[in-house]
Symmetry: C2
Subunit: 786 residues, 2 copies
């Protein structure tokens, strides 16, 4: 142990290659590209394929390691070749292993080494396959993610009450749902639409006068057909994508990436609007029963969105268990109204009540108005696709369970929608005012007593749970889009409760803003709502059509016909909604969808470029062709550097250390000692505001012994960081092949308020030197006592 410690103690443990050899000829170890010259040298003329491997059937699964992409075979081979370049210029691996000044067998249970439980524990020792040493694994405990300061730990504990304790990655498979639970969790989005869809349709018809409300029956029937055909279409989707799909994946897979993106953009808007509309409608259900709360609706809605986000951060199953009951309550409530309403209507021989008061027409009844009513009523279908998006959350066999659940939901949706439209017709209920249509129907059928209260309560909670449904689907969509590099990778990250924390937060904020911006009202949100959803429907069905034509499995003709009908009808809704509601808000969606597509494509372009630049094979082809020295338009010096070509193996790294010294204090001395201890050439730099000060500094330098080369820059205009940066940049231009390490002393204070008392030269230098390649900034901390 003693000898091991001291090997690395006083200087580099590696012997430098014989000087004469290095100075005059090629290095003794050969670079990777020379060893296997063919593949590498031809790399520039035959660029490596840039498309990622097409997704296999398992690609719709969610895994925490998606954030760490695997290297493909070609990259592995390239890595191997680069690795050969390391041989010979390095001591053998055992040498490195022996040189380690630390004992790798850390006793983590020892409180002297790490506070018990907080730290990692050794899981086991695996001999490595080449026998050249042992590779160990250590497992972090749940506490390793905890903040270290007591204040923040308290805060985190408080958050844990809302969010729950962290879950292991392996718990992912267990966080699945049975059919009844899944129906409750995944269908509220669709079912709850019954609370506002019929009202939206009637509100448009009312423009033609109360007398034309009877048109709700044929339009409602058309909508039921639409629901059935789109729903059956999605049933085919589950068959075709048993590992989970949804419009984005289907469209990407069958129609191409851009169509997939358009579907994704539509869905993104749909999810955001689902939350806003559902919360608005849910709050309206409350204020219909308690009109005095009407003025507080925005505040109440925002609170609800906050609570939904917090609940979902707890993870899928907990959220499901929490939100299962309301769906069934709502089904019961609608059944109660519809049955009572129909029984009452039967007692009047199904003669509809004349709507009262009579609203005179303000618009002529025409095709456009009917189509507008149709597309407004179509909002009752939103959420029909959630189940096919979320197949992976079902217990195995996922596809079968999902299909059964979707069928059940479809039956419920159509009968509830039809029932509400019928009862509205028979009771003569009209929309308008601060009370919702459903509330009026309920009063007309079950009276204003306990039963009414139950209906309103069930409506409210199911709408809130519908918003919750979006919190399940949206992060999953972003996960798939992030895996395909269309949105930032941070949406790949599972939170420590296995929920997609980032996606949940990104959904909550825009929907809260939209909700507040539309003053917490449902009606003005409806025109924005339908387009995004039906774009996704159309593309999913069209994708299925393309797939049927390609795959032609059993029953492909019937399947194709189903999906084609769904696609045509959905597309019709998109066109109708976009035209008839353009000025009422649909224009926003028409603008946003291509904008989102554009942004996603730019992000994708960046990630593709980054992947090419970062994978080993790319290093030998595309990357080396690019201008390499300086990044971005901010770059003070244009690129001529050969730096990027010379850094794959240690022999290619030519080190040079620069130490900026402002005041000759212990922090500077420590940085100088550190720099000198690395055993590389060192140059100290001092920036002085006046000639006097530079003389003074030189005296101090010589008192110390003038051990290292020093350069003084007089900066009569008192700038410090800029002259340093430009001087280093000039050196960089002179020798772009050098890796320059700036060793910067950094004062570390004990308390945050003390930070403004010190200059932050290290951080400013790091920022200023970021554009230059091959400049490493190392900060040597000097801790002040508290």
């Amino acid at each position: 142990m003693a000898s091991r410690r001291s090997i690395g103690a006083s200087g580099p443990f590696l012997k430098p290659p014989p000087t004469e050899l290095v100075a005059t000829s090629a290095p003794p170890c050969v670079r990777g590209r020379a060893v296997s010259g063919r593949a590498f040298h031809s790399g520039t003329s035959t660029p490596a394929p840039t498309q990622p491997v097409p997704p296999g059937p398992d690609d719709a699964a969610v895994t925490p390691s998606a954030a760490l992409p695997e290297l493909d075979k070609e990259a592995l081979a390239a890595l191997e070749r680069v690795g050969k370049g390391w041989k010979g210029c390095l001591p053998p691996r055992e040498h490195w292993e022996e040189a380690l000044p630390i004992d790798r067998h850390i006793e983590f249970a020892d409180p002297m080494v790490s506070r018990t439980g907080r730290f990692a524990e050794i899981r086991g020792t695996h001999p490595s396959s080449d026998g050249g040493g042992e590779i160990e694994e250590i497992e972090a405990t749940a506490k390793a993610g905890e903040p270290s300061s007591p204040a923040r730990r308290t805060l985190r504990s408080a958050a844990r009450v809302l969010i729950g304790p962290p879950l292991r990655s392996t718990a992912l498979a267990q966080e699945r749902m049975g059919r009844l639970l899944a129906l409750a969790v995944l269908s509220p989005d669709a079912l709850s639409s019954v609370a506002y869809g019929p009202e939206a349709m009637l509100a448009v018809l009312l423009l033609a006068g109360s007398g034309e409300l009877k048109l709700s029956l044929p339009i409602g029937a058309a909508l039921a057909v639409l629901m059935l055909s789109v729903g059956l279409g999605y049933r085919q989707v589950i068959n075709a994508y048993p590992h989970g799909g949804g419009s984005y994946i289907i469209a990407s897979d069958s129609l191409g990436a851009r169509w997939g993106l358009i579907a994704g953009a539509g869905l993104i808007l749909d999810y955001v609007l689902t939350v806003a509309v559902s919360v608005a409608s849910g709050v309206e259900a409350v204020t219909s029963a308690i009109p005095s709360m009407y003025s507080d609706r925005v505040l109440v809605g925002l609170l609800v969105i906050f609570l939904l986000a917090a609940g979902n951060l707890r993870g899928v199953r907990d959220a499901g268990a929490l939100f299962a009951a309301p769906t069934y309550l709502f089904v019961a409530a609608i059944a109660l109204i519809v049955v009572t309403g129909l029984v009452k209507a039967a007692s009047h021989d199904f003669t509809p009540t004349t709507p009262h008061p009579y609203h005179p027409p303000v618009e002529a009844l025409g095709v456009l108005l009917v189509l507008r009513a149709f597309s407004s009523g179509a909002t009752a279908m939103t959420g029909i696709e959630v189940i096919s998006n979320a197949v992976p959350v079902f217990r195995p066999p996922e596809a079968k369970h999902a299909r059964q659940t979707l069928t059940a939901m479809l039956a419920l949706l159509i009968s509830m929608f039809a029932g509400v439209v019928l009862v509205a017709h028979f009771t003569g209920a009209q929309p308008g005012g601060q009370e919702t249509l459903l509330s009026r129907i309920a009063r007309d059928t079950v009276g204003s007593g306990t039963a009414y209260g139950f209906v309103q309560f069930a409506t409210t909670v199911v709408l809130l749970v519908a918003a919750n449904s979006a919190f399940n689907g949206f992060p999953r969509l972003l996960y798939f889009m992030a895996r395909d590099s269309y949105v930032p990778r941070l949406f790949l990250r599972l939170g420590d409760r296995l929920a997609f924390s980032n996606g949940i937060l990104v959904l909550a904020v825009p929907s809260a803003i939209i909700f507040a911006a539309f003053d917490g009202k449902t009606a003005p949100l409806i025109p924005l709502f339908a387009i995004g959803v039906f774009i996704a429907f159309t593309l999913a069905q069209a994708g299925m059509v393309a797939r049927w034509r390609r795959v032609r499995g059993r029953g492909w003709r019937a399947g194709l016909a189903t999906n084609l009908l769904g696609a045509v009808l959905s597309a019709a809704v998109v066109v109708i909604a976009a035209i008839t509601k353009f000025t009422e808000g649909a224009w926003l969606v028409v603008v946003l969808v291509p904008l989102i597509v554009l942004v996603c494509e730019r992000i994708h372009g960046h990630y593709e470029m980054a992947r090419r630049a970062l994978t080993p094979r790319a290093a030998e082809s595309s990357h080396r062709l690019l201008p390499s020295s300086v990044a971005g338009p901010d770059a003070p010096l244009p690129a001529t550097s050969r730096h990027a070509e010379l850094q794959d193996t240690p022999i290619e790294v030519h080190n040079f250390t620069i130490v900026p010294v402002a005041v000759f204090d212990l922090a500077a001395l420590r940085a100088l000692a550190y720099a000198a201890s690395l055993g590389q050439p060192v140059l100290a730099l001092h920036v002085s505001p006046t000639g006097d000060e530079s003389e003074r500094f030189r005296r101090e330098w010589e008192a110390w012994g003038n051990h290292l080369p020093l350069e003084i820059i007089v900066s009569p205009f008192r700038a410090t960081v800029a002259p340093l940066t430009y001087y280093v940049a000039a050196l960089h231009r002179q020798r772009p092949d050098l890796t320059m390490t700036l060793v910067v002393p950094e004062i570390v204070v004990a308390k945050p308020w003390q930070r403004i008392l010190h200059s932050h030269t290290a951080a400013r230098l790091r920022r200023a030197l970021r554009p230059y390649e091959g400049i490493v900034v190392a900060t040597v901390p000097f801790h002040l006592p508290p």
Copy 2:
């Protein structure tokens, strides 16, 4: 050149000491403390003196190098001893010089090396005194401080129009003022008080009814006596502090640091309020003439404060030239009113006009009311100390010129104040309403024509220039306080126009806030105003008294008497103002002054501690006694490190390199190559979310060749930075003497928006590891093409 380049090219150029020697016994070079053992080993028992050297006479001068404190003799000696520790364990200096892979004679004019003009130029080559090499100096040009991006350069160019081109440090001495210019620049604060002081006094008297306004004559006389005595007191100050003083320096010097701080706190409040009151009163002068502007006064005032700040950022002289005329205009305007008023009064045999309309008394006339009127009137004296604060801006001989200027200002102030009070008395003008008293007097004496317009214009501009006076004095005060470490050091920095940019900005913001908070009105600000000023007056005069008793120079008895009178009268005003106006706002000042003192003392405590910890002598005494490993309450591990003791010389630095690798890409490979090239022991660390991923990573690692030791941490709760941090912390606990260098690959993107597409592990690691001593974080950039 070829051989020089390659010396540092392939690895460390320093030969490691013979291995057997290092491994088993003491290093071949001896530590500094062993060479000169006595001084160092006794260091812990005899701590070095902690008080800074008392300021010499030249210490009141402003110099740009104050930010870089000089090492005293003891520190130099300590440095020398530490330096001896470097001898022997390092190759001789020529070796380092020869090893430099760069050519130090950079041709900066060569556009291939640096864009012409933007960079530094070589000023000369000085052989160093020990003959051991050459020390060069390079001078940065004005362009070195410019931002590099075109957009920011355009912005800077626009700012230059307001601020002016940068000035050299050596231009500081030339930025001085003659007496007439200095009177114009430094006296408006005092003279302009005539615009609101008499009104503030009369407003209090009016509470006792219009009939008691005649009391303004005796109170005004008392105030004139007060002005004379305080003014003469400050004249003594200039004699005693020919290099510039002011209440802060005098009180610190003669009464002790805490009294100085109290004076400083009073002055800080005074400066902020001067800006707010002067701007408010100046805007009121305008709205008196143009009542329709009354509702926009806050906006106008804020604009004025912004313009003043911008003007002052241009630097002292330009600001002076810009603002010289208004003072003389105002003197002329007051002279016009007073002479006309007195002539008119003479035509009535000096019979005062009865005030009309008659205001009945709302408060009984009593001692308190009279005292309140007195202390309100005393606001007419604010700014009397500005000249003695700013002696260094006078052309040499500074003291004499300052004295003459102060005398002239005093004469002007007293006669203008007395004149306005007299004329107000004779014309029967009363305060109140939206029109200022001065405006009413002007209308009564010179009518509402051109002459009236001239008076209002002159009043307005002189008040704005008075606010400007505070912009001259305040940054200087902060400079002196920063030099004594009572406020953050950033107030030492001269802007590139030689103005104290930070101080100017810090004055502008609070005064703008106060101005807006008080709705742009003068009257409610008056009660806050007097106390701070008179605290400073009292302490300055008291300090002079103490000084006279100590120094006893020529005429010390007369001087002492003058200052004693000034001190007693000023103290009386402080007490009167604090008592009579406590509830009207004075309580705020009574609270703020001790608060500012407290904050300043905490800042001072921190700087003193930092100085002790950072100067070489301290390293051998106080610093080594302090707990050294971990800073602050956030620290995850308590301190047991011996690290701080072992880092003054290269031989004491025991290096160990850790490379966190997330994905095995070229960025990671580059970081590994860099780490290996340093020739120190290396350990690679990988954090994996699942066992599968860790297997995959291991395969990649072995494909590469398994060249370096690897440790894998499985983090089933998906945290990355925390397990890394805790693992490194555990290693740190095991071997606190090691200097661990974390070599972190960092993706650098070309455009700012791309930043959110990548994780910022390097920055997060740096933050997380900041509490640990001896952990160097080096970021190896990998630049993505744009």
